[in-house]
């Protein structure tokens, strides 16, 4: 099975058709995606700021990181599900969209940054857990994480202005507003 046919089968799937035909699906799923993305960014931002050594210096890095972990992953999970539905509805358009590609690139880069931090930098955490100023590698990971996640949000919003299709109902149409 080649890539175009995979994309086609995603776009033909039942959830994708529901997204295209249900009048209320798109606004609800999009809202959920924004809410999840905001929560994801907000919780990661708290951990990143601690890596930069402010404003939570009295609390250890591991305490903050552990507290945020579940919320961050829960938000990520919801964002992925909602995002996948939005993608499926117009898979072909998304795949060819530059803003979407840049978003995915930033997302992967944020993942690589996190993996390097969790794989290498965190090994020495016992030495700097309570320091107001974590080591350079930690601070760099914090700055990169903030910048990459902000980029993800910016590219994501850009998709809506470059996607080249319009889901809204024509002004003069009369349709049934049920799910």
């Amino acid at each position: 099975m080649d890539v175009p046919s995979i994309i086609q089968s995603i776009q033909d799937s039942a959830p994708a058709q529901w997204m295209r035909t249900s009048v209320k699906a798109m606004p609800f799923v999009e809202s959920l995606h924004v809410l999840a993305a905001a929560t994801l960014f907000g919780t990661i931002f708290i951990v990143d700021l601690r890596l930069l050594g402010f404003p939570d210096t009295r609390r250890s890095f591991t305490a903050i990181s552990r507290e945020m972990l579940r919320l961050t992953w829960a938000a990520f999970f919801v964002a992925v599900i909602a995002g996948a539905l939005m993608f499926a509805a117009n898979a072909h358009t998304y795949v060819g969209n530059t803003a979407f590609r840049l978003k995915m690139l930033a997302l992967v880069a944020a993942g690589v940054n996190m993996t390097i931090f969790q794989g290498i930098t965190i090994r020495t955490v016992s030495a700097w857990d309570r320091d107001a100023r974590p080591p350079l590698a930690g601070r760099v990971a914090g700055v990169l994480s903030i910048l990459l996640w902000i980029s993800v949000i910016f590219f994501a919003r850009w998709i809506g202005f470059t996607k080249g299709y319009d889901f809204s109902i024509p002004q003069d149409s009369h349709i049934n507003f049920q799910f």
């Binding site: 009048v23 209320k24 798109m26 606004p27 999009e30 809202s31 924004v34 809410l35 993305a37 905001a38 929560t39 994801l40 960014f41 907000g42 919780t43 931002f45 708290i46 404003p55 939570d56 009295r58 609390r59 507290e67 902000i150 949000i153 910016f154 994501a156 919003r157 850009w158 809506g160 202005f161 889901f167 809204s168 109902i169 002004q171 507003f177």
Partner: protein, 169 residues
């Protein structure tokens, strides 16, 4: 209101926002980043009152950690929001979601200010020490922000969300 929206949309300031293609997406992106800061700050404060987060820290310390970020974020959102309205006044003023959102924002900001004034000096170590009204208020404020976030996105889909109630109809 329609006349005002029409006038505003024809001002040079509004024309600039409409004509420069990157201004609106940029403002909306900043707006969303700030939703993250404000919503999660508010959520952290609420979870502390409920005893689910940072229960080992005194409440005033948690309030001092998150409240300045929350207020700063709200100010930034007021600015980006105002410019977005100036750029697309007809789109905003003719959306039912916009008016409900504005009413709830007013309620959310006033509520948070009163809540902060009542609780910020509250010294209590455990969850049991907060009165039930404080816990209820915490939950209500978080629910209010959720509704506001939803309505913000719903402005783009007024007829889809509200059907016959939409001001677009």
């Amino acid at each position: 209101m329609h006349a005002f929206a029409g006038w505003l949309q024809e001002t040079p300031f509004s024309h600039t926002i409409q004509d420069v293609s990157w201004i609106i997406p940029l403002l909306q992106s900043i707006h969303i980043v700030m939703i993250g800061v404000v919503f999660v700050s508010s959520l952290m404060i609420a979870l502390r009152v409920l005893g689910k987060m940072r229960a080992d820290e005194p409440f005033p310390a948690v309030w001092q950690r998150f409240a300045p970020w929350m207020w700063t974020g709200l100010c930034v959102m007021a600015c980006t929001g105002l410019i977005l309205v100036a750029g697309e006044p007809i789109r905003e003023f003719t959306a039912l979601s916009f008016w409900i959102k504005m009413a709830l924002v007013l309620l959310g900001v006033t509520g948070t200010a009163l809540y902060g004034r009542a609780l910020r000096n509250f010294i209590g170590a455990g969850p049991a020490q907060f009165p039930a009204t404080a816990k209820l208020a915490s939950v209500l404020i978080v629910v209010l922000w959720l509704a506001i976030i939803f309505l913000g996105r719903a402005i783009a889909y007024d007829r889809e969300v509200w059907g016959a109630l939409s001001l677009h109809a």
